[in-house]
Amino acid sequence: MSEKVLMKGNEAIAEAAIMAGCRHYFGYPITPQTEIAAYMAKRMPKIDGVFLQAESEIAAINMVIGVAATGKRVMTSSSSPGISLKSEGLSYLAGCDLPALVVNVQRGGPGLGGIQPSQSDYWQATKASGHGDFRRIVLAPASVQEMVSLTFKGFDLADKYRMTSMLLADGTIGQMMEPVSLDMGEVTQYDKSWALTGTGRQRKPNIVNSLFLKPEELEQTNFERYDRYAQIEKNEVMYEEYMMDDAEYCVVAFGIASRVSKNVINEARKKGIKVGLIRPITLWPFPKDALLKAADKCKAFVSVELSMGQMIDDIELSIRCKKPVLLCNRVGGMIPTPQDVMNAVEEAVKIGG
């Protein structure tokens, strides 16, 4: 068994990235994720890696594009306002089919918002992350251990499918300290014969590009990308079920909200309420099938979110509005209390009968 070390969530991301073979980090300071940059600034020079503080998040994501184009593992991290600035680059990463890991340690918004934890970038992460038709793998860690494992996984999936993975974390888990195992096994190597490495006058030039002026060609690139997305929806969905075997009510929550929810489920069970939890780990691809299955036996759902209700849309779509879905939420940096969640579960019992 591998040894465990005590680590802060944000630092765990950075160390996991290095273990995954990432030697290039570009970022711009913003709370609450600056520890990632600080960690990289210390570590990278010691392992022949590159840490560079860019002049903006726009520049940082374009530097990421540059390294990704050469076929090497690369990452950037930011928090909500900075991710907005990266949107253009995220769209280009998609259009150029480049692998990269982007971390968003979310804070409350809109605008400058606040610096306390939030999940209000759910829509941005899963649906509206830039112009054009494209998807992105979105991973939602709920512990420091998952900061490690999902960072590792994020790089792997990015390479495997030639696309961006986003680690969608929140300030609470970013700041939390927990014991973690850093043993993630071997890094899988993928073919990168498309990369810009210099032709050596031995092969035809490689071109990394998202411009296709002929509509039928552009359409084809979209079709091909969506074929890949279909594979991902089939093969890469991750979620955790907790006490769902006999559940009559289903709480859906990710990240920090799922931790609060788990405790409440234990308490509710003591009261005789048969409630369980589905915790999406991949927010895209969303665990649609698991939810639809749950809709057959559960009477009502509760979506616990640190937003005004964003994931709830995906829940309703997944269960095709077969059962009522209640929203239990706090925003602006506030976290739903166990009592908030208990009240929502009891309300679900009333409605669901």
């Binding site: 050469t70 253009e88 490495t197 490689n206």
Partner: protein, 251 residues
Amino acid sequence: MVVFKKPDSLTNAELSFCPGCTHGIITRLVAEAIDELGIQGTTIGVAPVGCSVMAYNFFDVDMAQAAHGRAPAVATGIKRSDPNNIVFTYQGDGDLAAIGTAETVHAAARGENITVIFVNNAIYGMTGGQMAPTSLPGMVTQTSPYGRDTEKVGLPVKVCELLSNVDGATYLERVAVNSVPNINKAKKAIYKAFKNQVEGKGFSLVEVLSTCPTNWGLPPAKALEWLGENMIPYYPLGVYKDKYAGEEAAK
């Protein structure tokens, strides 16, 4: 004996520039520099958004196409990934001196060891002739139909002058491609900007005054005259910075 041939670093793709546009000359000069330095196999180019967006089809080297204005940041990533590769950007004035000003200034400030070819044609060519940061005072464009009113929109941005105050920059020269002697000087400057990178000397930028006959509304020959009579007086040619000039003179 072959006295004139296509540089190896150009593909057979037809250049997409309008007839008589000097973008074509500049593209060729870049390819000649790459050939002459023997760096075709290790060169990676970054195409901008603008009339030279298709540069990724013209150069017979690995190429990336960057978002509007972001080429110096993309080039930074490529160069930092493998400093042994020779990385260049080829950008217009809207790309480099408006939307991409921050990326340009900071790549220079970091002394990023890349080569920037900056094509200043005083107009947004690709989008059909709007005012550029470099459009001359009084110049009529689609978005300055009464002439560039400097009271309202300010004076043009002079990139070489601006960057000459950035300590990180190594080599800045402004050239023009409106006559054979000027083209010869432009060729030397572009060669030097690449050679600097090969020698690890840092950030080099060559500003090339270029024509846009289509959007200036002038026949190609008149456009060359207009460049000489209007642009060169406003944008004086010459070396604006050469960190290693003394060293080279001493050799």
